[in-house]
């Protein structure tokens, strides 16, 4: 009996205990929750050490039938990927349990909240330790439902449960697609166990005829991976299934923290778990990349136009999830997990801090001065020098280090080049944001920023390589993922060139605008900018489209309900 079994069990037992005795012994409720999750965290760390030095843990608890027809097995599978996720989930959950002690103190649903938190932790831990696709799907479902219940925690507040319902329905769309993928997986490969599935998929090439007469034949693996990816899209808030995330801010702050740090990573985890299957379908990987890239652009753009701190963080998460999915689409599955961990930790801390900031702001008697009364300041020389270093010199240095010191095969791995490229884009975006705030006006701030960016860049690069070798120690496995995801050379060159030109044009436009010359920013472009602003502030109208479809469907249903 492995200790790994107790990792998901402890939060579940805590949830059951809180449900049974929580109302009578309210003071013990947080202690039970914190004790359970912190113990689970310690066990997760021990398990991580165990699987790092030994082989993966695979325990079957319920075989149903020993041979042949048993398709559904209940058990636990802990490899390095699972162990890393378990450490992340239990540590974030422990922090949130501790934070919630005073945050929700006095709330009539105090025990209910902790019970849901414990149950949610159990569900996520069981999801990441599922040994087969069906068990993963069962917990995927439970996660959707538990998220609905916890988002509707303030169920007497109408927007809370309405947004929880929106979340549930969007996740259902993803779940429906996921289930279709499972149906096809079983039909074509006859198994849902991960190891067997990867082996059979690599050995047998099945083709699905989408049109009669074999007019449109596609690989079964492509269809399956695409359907499963739609499920991941819903959970990880990818465009166009992103609409639920920004509206979940009515839930308590600890819930937002858990969601943005833990639950939303489920999609990225799913792609990582099925990485060998995705590596067999380059087309799906390209689609994954495109969806991720669109999500990054839209998420980051919509973040820039928000005026609410929590919604800003929400769209920021959407952008970061797009980045993570994009990394999967480029074959950098291990880097996606690294990103997921880093993002989870910093976003959880941001949300928990946001709660305190909002609380303090509500008690602040004075209103802040309006920025429209501030005199317009032109960017200082410091700003331009910082921008030059960050956007031109730093990427060049990072490229040299990557190629010469870390020996990243840039010529073969499109993925690595695109990463570095997007690092450059992100750094540029940081500069643009700070330019808006006029913050980069002193050498101290500029130096601190440059140093921080260099540190982050090099740490990311170095840690990313280390993490890749940790998750995929077998030689050639990680490289094979990169090769499978390689883009068409012409597409790749056009992408890089086009994005480079866009960024340079942006800088030139800013510079000339600062000098009072609107060469690349004529007056007519202001109207377009305003239209883009309205487009983004209305969340690219996707929400409105869904609401309209929902209303039409509801009207049809009412007609059927009353007339037939």
């Amino acid at each position: 009996m492995s200790l790994a079994l107790f990792i998901p069990l402890l939060p579940l037992l805590a949830a059951v205990a809180i449900i049974a005795c929580g109302k009578r012994f309210t003071s013990f409720v947080p202690r039970i929750g914190i004790l359970a999750t912190s113990s689970a965290c310690l066990l997760a760390i021990l398990t991580l050490y165990e699987v790092s030095t030994d082989e993966a843990i695979h325990i079957i608890l319920w075989p149903m039938q020993e041979k042949g027809a048993a398709l559904f097995k209940v058990g636990i599978f802990v490899d390095r990927l699972t162990a890393v996720m378990m450490v992340l989930i239990t540590s974030v959950s422990t922090v949130i349990h501790v934070y919630s002690v005073r945050y929700l103190e006095g709330d009539p649903g105090y025990a209910r909240f902790y019970a849901l938190l414990g149950f949610m932790t159990f569900v996520i831990l069981s999801l990441v330790s599922s040994p087969n696709l069906l068990m993963l799907f069962v917990f995927w479902q439970l996660l959707s439902w538990t998220l609905y219940l916890i988002l509707a925690f303030n169920y007497s507040h109408v927007p809370a449960y309405q947004n929880a319902f929106k979340t549930l329905m969007v996740h259902r769309i993803g779940d429906v697609s996921f289930l279709c993928g499972i149906f096809l997986t079983y039909k074509y490969f006859g198994t849902l166990e991960f190891g067997e599935l990867f082996q059979r998929a690599s050995e047998h090439l099945h083709v699905i005829s989408l049109l009669p007469g074999n007019l449109l034949d596609v690989s079964a693996v492509s269809v399956i991976t695409l359907l499963i990816f739609v499920g991941a899209m819903a959970k990880s808030s990818q465009f166009p299934l992103h609409v639920w995330l920004p509206d979940t801010m009515d839930s308590p702050t600890p819930v937002s923290a858990l969601m943005h740090a833990g639950i939303i990573n489920a999609g990225g985890f799913l792609l990582n778990r099925l990485a060998p299957l995705y590596a067999l379908s380059p087309n799906t990987l390209h689609i994954v990349f495109v969806v991720g890239a669109i999500t990054v652009l839209l998420g980051a753009s919509m973040m820039l136009v928000q005026n609410d701190i929590k919604k800003t963080l929400g769209f920021s998460t959407m952008g970061q999830m797009g980045y993570m999915i994009m990394e999967c689409g480029l074959g950098a599955f291990a880097l996606a997990i690294f990103h997921l961990i880093a993002h989870g930790l910093f976003k959880a801390s941001l949300f928990l801090s946001a709660g305190n900031v909002i609380h303090s702001a509500r008690h602040e008697p004075k209103f802040p001065a309006s920025s429209s009364h501030e005199p317009t300041r032109l960017p200082a020389q410091t700003t331009w020098v910082t921008g030059l270093i960050v956007t031109l010199i730093m990427p060049f240095i990072i490229l040299m280090v990557a190629h010469d010191l870390l020996e990243v095969p840039l010529e073969d791995a499109h993925g690595a080049v695109i990463f570095l490229f997007f690092s450059w884009v992100t750094a540029s975006q940081a500069i643009f944001s700070l330019y808006r705030l006029h913050a980069v006006a002193s050498w101290k701030v500029a130096s601190a920023m440059i140093a921080a960016l260099f540190l982050i860049g090099f740490t990311y690069l170095w840690a990313g390589e280390l993490f890749t070798h940790f998750l995929y120690p077998e030689p050639g496995v990680a490289d094979a993922f990169f090769v499978a995801a390689a883009l068409n050379p012409t597409v790749f060159d056009v992408f890089i060139l086009g994005s480079t030109i866009l960024i340079l044009v942006g800088w030139i436009s800013l510079y000339t605008d600062a000098k009072g010359q609107k060469i690349l920013n004529p007056d007519w472009s202001l109207a377009i900018q305003q239209k883009i602003y309205m487009f983004l502030i209305n969340r690219v109208y996707v929400d409105l489209i869904y609401v309209r479809w929902g209303k039409v469907l509801f009207q049809w249903a009412q007609k059927i309900g009353t007339r037939y």
């Binding site: 149903m64 039938q65 042949g68 027809a69 048993a70 398709l71 559904f72 069906l134 069962v138 479902q141 439902w145 609905y148 219940l149 509707a152 169920y155 007497s156 109408v158 449960y161 309405q162 319902f165 549930l168 329905m169 259902r172 769309i173 429906v176 289930l179 279709c180 149906f183 079983y186 039909k187 006859g190 469907l553 509801f554 049809w556 249903a557 009412q558 007609k559 059927i560 309900g561 009353t562 037939y564």
Partner: protein
């Protein structure tokens, strides 16, 4: 059909009757309602447990009383006429088949099955009877009808699997979509729950065309549907008994002043929303990995997905309009009593056992 399935079906009827009586509460009609519940359950148990041909007479008794109840109900128009005609036809076929050969018995069995386990377009008697039954009797009728229908289906499983797959699966798909949309557009609780039951049951019909081992998975799954929906009928009967309303949305926010009711509702609706997943688990575990026609798999996939997707919508909508929201300050709320909680808890436990562990 083996003894275990019969015991499960009989147990479901007994449990449903006990829970309906416990959930009746105290009113001037509760004695009459309890007698009615016992009468219907007794007939149902007789139809299940007595040997041939006595069980056919009990079955005729169930159908006869169903016809009588429907005749006395507030239903009007063509639906009532068609429903009564179908029940009378079922009675005649049952009586005639008792005394004649196997061919007519098989046809009678099929007709009984589509009437008792409602399959579009033979769903009208079930919908009219359950939708118009008073008090907690709706839940009992649901369980009795489904239990007797499942017993008939078990005897027909070979015929269904080999002889009638395409027609049954297409009708099931039609029923799933139609009933799910009808539930979405409902403004009254009882019809919503009735058509939700028919939508869930259509999955059962769809799956009979793929999984031949019906008695191993179909009976427990059917009983799970019956018990969960009975639980919802009993729960909303408690609300209607206290506040006199069946309309969705007129009394929101019940979970705040009535936390026990809120908890029971959330649990029952959670199980109802997960129901479509259960046959996937149980069917896959008991079914040998046989090769099936793509069309059958596509149809059953569409059934499960539509029931699941739309079921999530209307069940969540029901939860929002009843349990969630702001409670009205002018209403004297009173939470569930011990007897009512026990009845619902028993149904939940039995449904979980039947769906997951049996």
């Amino acid at each position: 059909m083996n003894i275990d399935s019969t015991s499960l079906l009989a147990f479901a009827i007994i449990l449903s009757a006990i829970c309906a009586i416990l959930g009746q509460g105290h009113s001037k009609h509760s004695t009459i309602a309890s007698v009615e519940i016992l009468f219907v359950s007794g007939l149902g148990l007789g139809a299940l447990l007595t040997p041939v041909p006595i069980n056919r007479y009990f079955l005729v008794g169930v159908l006869g009383y169903a016809a009588y109840s429907l005749f006395q109900s507030h239903c009007t128009g063509a639906i009532k006429t068609i429903s009564l005609a179908q029940i009378v036809l079922a009675i005649l076929l049952t009586l005639v088949s008792t005394f004649t050969g196997n061919e007519l018995a098989m046809f009678a069995g099929l007709f009984l099955a589509v009437t008792l386990v409602p399959l579009l377009p033979f769903h009208l008697p079930f919908a009219s009877l359950v939708g118009s039954a008073s008090g907690a009797l709706s839940g009992v009728w649901t369980t009795v009808f489904l239990a007797l229908g499942l017993a008939e289906l078990s005897q027909l499983q070979t015929f269904l699997f080999e002889g009638l797959p395409a027609a049954a699966s297409l009708l099931a798909l039609g029923g799933a979509l139609y009933c799910s949309f009808k539930c979405l557009g409902q403004s009254q609780i009882r019809p919503l729950l009735t058509y939700a039951t028919i939508a869930q049951v259509s999955m059962l019909w769809g799956l009979t065309t793929i999984f031949s081992t019906f008695s191993q998975w179909g009976v427990p799954f059917g009983i799970t549907i019956a018990l969960v929906m009975s639980g919802l009928f009993v729960t909303y009967h408690c609300v209607q008994q206290r506040f006199g309303t069946h309309a969705i949305g007129t009394l929101p926010g019940l979970a705040s002043p009535m936390p026990r009711l809120g908890t029971m509702l959330i649990i029952l609706i959670s199980i109802a929303m997960v129901l479509p997943i259960i046959p996937i688990l149980t069917g896959l575990t008991t079914m040998p990995a046989a090769d099936h026609q793509t069309v059958s798999l596509i149809v059953i996939s569409l059934i499960i997905l539509s029931v699941w997707m739309l079921g999530s919508w209307y069940f969540a909508h029901l939860l929002h309009q009843t349990a969630f929201g702001k409670a009205r300050p002018d209403i004297p709320y009173s939470d569930l009593k011990t007897a009512e909680i026990c009845s619902l808890a028993l149904l939940i436990v039995a449904a979980s056992y039947s769906g997951l562990f049996y």
